[in-house]
Point group: C2
Chain length 228, copies 2
């Protein structure tokens, strides 16, 4: 059910040889573009390792090998495994969040929040989103760094997006905007509970009936914001 | 933050010696009470092992040692590690669920469901409940048996309890009782999302303000049931 992305090790060995051949022409400090390439390779290798083996079992040695850099170079980029994984997870979440919480066309409160819910459900159906969530579920209660990064880049961004939607709704005057933060938390908890409960009992992806239920709940919760 | 229960190994070695001394007086098939004692020790040792090391790393050999039985005896009780853990988890959840979902005095819909939410929150503040939930979060997406047992004994029991409360509310005639299952799922997802999101970002136990928020959401969701 969950799909991870495992680094193609054989390809990596071939790539390493090509790289060292290219480098043998001239040694010294890597150029800016070489340095960016190294950073990108480290982050990709780190992501593959954590998805394949989990945070605890992923080794810096194996990551250096897959990224085709020396351990010394790896540690000059990231002094600790924890710092590397924070960067890896942050990079993945930044891409994921940008795709998950795009702009919603301005509409009524019910329309905007409904569109938001449908977009998030669309993202939750994707294999790489499920891989991120599996990682969060399995690792975050042990490795609090992962929880904090996820909080900032996923829950935090979604929360700001919901608050923006509430404040810019065409019928915003009917609602108590001072409570938008409370509503955003209620909606996030509802979506998170709805999805993670299904992930835990092995009912992923959700059915269209379950998606309709989620939209109905989002509307019921709008009552929290309504004046009077 | 999470509190597990680790088996006192030294005590266990001493206990094993005492047991084998007692048994050396007369050999043969264990009596019914001896057999129950063995089963209880296996389940306790299994629980300690899974809490300390996780499902994957817990070994049948170590469990037999802590339970003070031979591997042969252990396998005669549980043929596979998966069967043992299903029993271990089921035993723990049965105790936990009985305590978590007791009878609620009959009242209005808002009163009964409010009391239910407060009781569940009270349970979620306990260390052993948190240990169970940590186990579910970390293991269930990989080991679907754990998810299924948790679904049956925790979500399943809570769901039935909520439906009973809805149907026996003193103002039940104002509500559409045919939708009680949908409401029960909405409330469960809300409580689960509310708690597990906090567990993931390291904000456990919840504050009293957060508990008040949960009660308000439960009331907002009652709109799903209200007629008209």
């Amino acid at each position: 059910m969950w799909v991870g992305e495992v680094a193609p090790r054989q390809w990596s060995v071939y790539y390493c040889r090509m790289q060292s051949l290219a480098r043998s022409r001239g040694r010294g400090r890597p150029s800016k573009s070489e340095s960016e390439d190294i950073a990108r390779r480290i982050v990709e290798a780190g992501w593959s390792a954590i998805i394949a083996n989990g945070y605890n079992a992923a080794s810096m040695e194996a990551i250096a090998e897959v990224a085709c850099v020396s351990k010394r170079t790896l540690y000059s980029y990231y002094a600790t495994k924890s710092a590397l994984f924070e960067a890896v997870f942050e990079a993945r979440l930044t891409t994921w969040s940008a795709r998950s919480f795009p702009d919603v066309k301005r509409g009524t409160m019910v329309q905007s929040l409904g569109t938001f819910c449908r977009m998030v459900v669309g993202q939750l159906e994707k294999a790489d989103t499920q891989a991120v969530i599996k990682l969060v579920l399995t690792e975050a209660t042990t490795f609090t760094d992962i929880g904090r990064v996820f909080d900032r880049h996923a829950f935090g961004l979604a929360r700001s997006r919901i608050i923006e939607l509430i404040n810019s709704a065409t019928d915003a005057c009917d609602y108590d905007l001072s409570r938008s933060g409370q509503y955003a938390d209620a909606l996030l908890d509802t979506i998170w509970g709805w999805f993670s409960r299904r992930a835990i009992v092995g009912q992923v992806p959700p059915t269209s009936d379950q998606t309709a239920d989620l939209l109905e709940r989002s509307n019921a919760l709008i009552r929290l914001l309504h004046k009077g």
